[in-house]
Symmetry: C2
Subunit: 212 residues, 2 copies
């Protein structure tokens, strides 16, 4: 599918940094099975995305809106794909503070009720993941990163540090709570433009020992 939507280049965002507190997440789900198309389509149909702007191109899907709804939608997408039992990889880049345009701004008026949480909360899923924070434009960015790794340690989801990332694992709800909290708290530092990358591996045969 060709992406024909008029969206600005990343570079064009510079002038508008920090003018909106809309949160975005560009993500992709990779079920490692021959049925990958039906699994992804099934997740898209099962998840209520009516409170976020959404666009899918040939590489990834982007959702934009209020922080709560972006995390709600993304977690539900992961859960609905992985509950099939397939080995699923998930990759995401969350961003706030550099939207560069107004697409999705109308969704900022939505209320606080997470549409997918009632369906998600009943599902349990062990995940192993790695995340990294990039507070942009701040010479003291390492202090922000250290504080959020400390938060993960408090939450009990920190697995260990690895090169260029920190490992998180546990039940998906606990891991997503840590991610959302870390992303939120990082915004309290000096940077107005926060990026967070996340990779998850789910239903990997190599996790069975660790999950119990």
């Amino acid at each position: 599918m060709s992406n024909t939507q008029p969206v600005p280049q990343q570079a064009a965002t510079s002038a508008a940094c920090g003018t909106s507190r809309i949160v975005g997440c560009r993500f992709s789900l990779h079920p490692m099975t021959n049925d990958f198309v039906s699994l992804i389509k099934g997740a898209i149909e099962a998840v209520d995305t009516s409170k976020v702007w959404r666009y899918t191109d040939d590489v990834s899907t982007c959702v934009r809106g209020r922080e709560a709804h972006v995390f709600d939608v993304v977690k539900a997408m992961v859960l609905h794909t992985s509950k099939t039992g397939a080995h699923v990889a998930f990759n995401a880049t969350f961003s706030i503070g550099c939207p560069g345009d107004s697409e999705g701004d109308t969704y900022m008026a939505e209320d606080d009720i997470r549409l997918n949480e009632p369906g998600s909360i009943e599902l349990r899923q062990y995940v192993s993941s790695q995340f990294a924070l990039y507070p942009m434009g701040d010479p003291d960015y390492m202090a922000t990163i250290m504080a959020q790794v400390g938060l993960a340690e408090e939450h009990g989801t920190l697995k260990k540090g690895v090169h260029y990332a920190s490992g998180l694992h546990g039940d998906i709800h606990d891991v997503f709570t840590t991610l959302e909290e870390a992303f939120k708290q990082a915004q309290e530092g000096k940077s107005s433009h926060i990026v967070m990358t996340v990779n998850m591996s789910i239903n990997s045969p190599s996790h069975q020992e660790e999950a119990h």
Copy 2:
């Protein structure tokens, strides 16, 4: 598989930022087929990694060494997985300037000869991808990003900007040349710690029209 290797937390890297010019890449390959294990193992066996430090955990693989060899190994891994014809997704985070430790430093003495290029260069592969640059600790980071998006435009690999990334597409060798050049040139800016994320989608049915 449990990661039992003693590696520092991301946060622990602050003291050592910029002390080494070792390049690292944390990546994962996701063949969307039931045979994903054999495809990944096949790629690992086919690629010569003797000039880089390498470690695989349950989420991703990390390679570290000289810039040329890191890009050589990663491109070869992608090519050897995708030449099977499987739909493959690739995700990577390249980093320089914040190693925080000495793992792999011995590999910095390797020569310039790329071990996998002779086997890679014969293979052709259309890829659609998205990349983002994060020059850390620099208030003027947007200027560095804009310059590298301009480079991609000069190379003819720039597809279009999307939220939070820039699209690159074309033959894998051209796309990797742009990525390596952008990563290298970004180091000439004010930031000593450069991060670049890349996502690729390969052999997707939706690419067949665009590739020709």
